[in-house]
Amino acid sequence: MKKKVLRFGMAILCILGVSFFAMANVQAEVGVTKDKILFGSFQDMSGPGAYLGKQCSAALAVWKKWVNEDLGGIHGRKVDFVIEDMKYDPVLTKTAFTKLVHQHKVFAIITVYGSTPCTAILEDIKREKIPVFTTAATTQNMFDPPIRYLFWYACSDEDNGIMMVDYLVNDLKVKNPKLGVVYQDDEWGKSALKGVKLGAKKYGLKVASSAYKRGSKNLNAQAMKMKAKGVTHCFYAGYAPVYANLLKEANKIGWKPVFFGDYVTVDPRAFMAGKLAHGHYHFFSLGMRHERGPGWIKMEKLFADKLGEETAKGPLGWRIMPMMWTPLLFLTQALEDCGRDLTREKLVDALESIQDFDSGGLGKIQYGPNIRKGTHYYRVLQCDAEKKDFFPVTGWRQPSILYGSKERPVAK
């Protein structure tokens, strides 16, 4: 009798044990229920980058509406998201990250930006193994060395700097150019200087440089210095209004170099310099609105429906909108590729495996095994001050130098 009871007890235990493990196996991933996928995002809603926070929040709202209403969800699940305010502060970013992961229990973090906030959570991303897709921070540590769960999509000033020298030497065929770099004195500007120096080293050229403080509005001293050094081709890394000021100051002192603005200068505010902006070059990784790619037309319509025609066609649409929207399209594709059995690991694999993604002319985006840098291709644009627009003068191309702390694989 005792043996029978023992056997019965053992059988019950085995059934319970097997059921437990089976339940554990079919249990959905964190943030994924049978009818919803919950994403998280931290945005600067009240700090110095609040203008970006507004645009990213808008992009997320448009994406949610598009996926849930136009696509009918992803494999029967609607998408939803939670936004936390990080005020562009590292501590608040870490707090927001912890809250999103442990309190809201989101599946992934999407559409974030900022070198300082994102750097503050690098180690947490590794530890929590939560996909962050994408960050638009400027620092190289976002993609090099690659972190499995962190995907970067922005423009790189190192790339822009290298491409400037490539373009000068190989396309414009300038003999003995005197290179200069005027840059904002932070990691963003320093990466531009690094890029130009890398390019200059390759072609045996020298570089003069002049930094300015973040927040400076007048670059008279920098222009004087560059003129004194006899700079003929000057790379500029910083915001468009300051770039416009540099053009004006250069004109005032009779310094007439060819300027190369980084991707941030592809901004209507560059035309604050009027005709002085005409003919100078810029580097850009996104499609242009005037090219009227199908992706652009669709994106404009979606944003106009949500935010109004004026906002969608204003400065928001110039650079930020495609920069945020293209990764969201890419993410949608990856989520669909994962199938119904969605996990974080599967999503990372899916993001890695998408090749030749068609964004409809918004811009190229591609990752791969161990590749977390989503931007590889750029075009050189030339500014037309009369039409107040930028026009490509080259096809899509990559910088000629692969930089980084270790050998990084590149997308084909």
Binding site: A50, V82, D85, T95, H102
Partner: protein, 348 residues
């Protein structure tokens, strides 16, 4: 017989840190709640509690300097930064263990505090404020531009702290370390305030010339206040660095210094209780605002910047409100509540 601070009969009773039985019992209950906190709340709350703890330690340090000694400093975040970077560099580059890096971080900040304290011998009031402000900006500049040492914007990653072979790599485990130091800092400050040194600090604050006349060595006590304050700030900075796991130049900005000043003003200048409650209040206030505005921002993302602006306005209004209506801060409110209930059920 249990007594309160309002009806002490002997010096011995007056010198007790917790004079009444009720205070001691409340403290024991509060201590038990703090000890049990990680078992009842999620990781997020534990992390916020850790940030509160570090802020309490740092605010206590600033209160010694500003609240007790009357030397206003706008460079407190810089001292924290020095402590944080010392711990980060020692642990990540030189392989120092947590137990060694922590006191060295405090000592480094204290040494620099002694140097910064020297101008206080000739400066006070707004002139001292400007001096400490300059120190704040110099420190920020050095952290940012001494790239070979601080790695500038990239930040320094710290190894997980370990104590007696036990890795403190979770917020829950590190919470107890922070709690220990917060309690130790509070006890130390309370004792210091009641000691000869503390009373000398107060004398310097209230009237330095009179203090000198009665035999207080102004130079010694002013510099000592800087040294003690910066040591505690350095310690808080090191704990903060280990908590964050990675530190960068933007962690120790002028805004942070202002925040610590706000903590001790809102809490109540020159009181330990005020520093503790002020720090907790200022850390939790954005969290409370975010708990209200967060769902609104998520539901209506296009309004999120306005929601964010409202949260900043509320934050500012709370501070202005304290300055206008309760200059003694939260400590003042606490005392008023205690006085109101003391004769209860009688009206007076």
């Amino acid at each position: 017989m249990a007594v309160t601070r309002f009806c002490v009969r002997t010096y011995e009773q007056d010198l007790r840190i917790f004079p009444s039985l009720a205070a001691r019992i409340s403290l024991i209950i509060f201590g038990l709640v703090l000890l049990g906190l990680p078992f009842f709340v999620g990781k997020y709350v534990v992390f916020v509690a850790c940030v509160c703890g570090v802020s309490v330690i740092s605010a206590l340090g600033l209160n010694i300097l500003t609240g007790y000694t009357g030397l206003i400093s706008l460079g407190h975040a810089a001292f924290m930064g020095i402590g944080a970077y010392t711990a980060a560099i020692l642990s990540s580059k030189a392989g120092f263990p947590f137990v060694a890096a922590l006191p060295l971080a405090g000592l480094m900040a204290a040494a620099i505090g002694a140097v910064v304290g020297v101008p206080t011998l000739r400066l006070k009031g707004l002139y001292l404020v400007v001096t400490t402000l300059a120190f704040q900006f110099i420190t920020e500049h050095v952290i940012y531009h001494w790239e070979s040492l601080t790695l500038s914007d990239r930040g320094i990653i710290l190894p997980s702290p370990a104590l007696l072979g036990y890795k403190l790599d979770t917020y829950e485990s590190f919470y107890y370390v922070i709690l220990f130091f917060a309690v130790a800092a509070a006890m130390f400050t309370k004792n210091l305030a009641m000691s000869r040194t503390g009373r000398a600090f107060v004398a310097v604050r209230d009237r330095d010339i009179a203090a000198e006349i009665i035999g207080i060595h102004l130079a010694k006590y002013k510099i000592l206040a800087f040294v003690i304050s910066s040591f505690i700030a350095g310690l808080a900075g090191a704990l903060y660095a280990y908590l964050m796991g990675l530190i960068g130049p933007d962690h120790f900005t002028f805004n942070q210094s202002i925040l610590y000043i706000a903590m001790i003003i809102v809490g109540g200048l020159g009181t330990v209780f005020g520093s503790v409650i002020g720090a907790v209040f200022m850390v939790l206030l954005p969290e409370v605002i975010s708990a209200v505005t967060g769902p609104i921002a998520s539901a209506y993302p296009t309004f999120s910047p306005r929601v964010g602006a409202i949260s900043v306005i509320v934050y500012g209004l709370v501070i202005i409100g304290f300055l206008l209506f309760e200059p003694d801060g939260l400590f003042g409110i606490w005392i008023k509540i205690k006085r109101y209930w003391k004769p209860w059920p009688f009206t007076y």
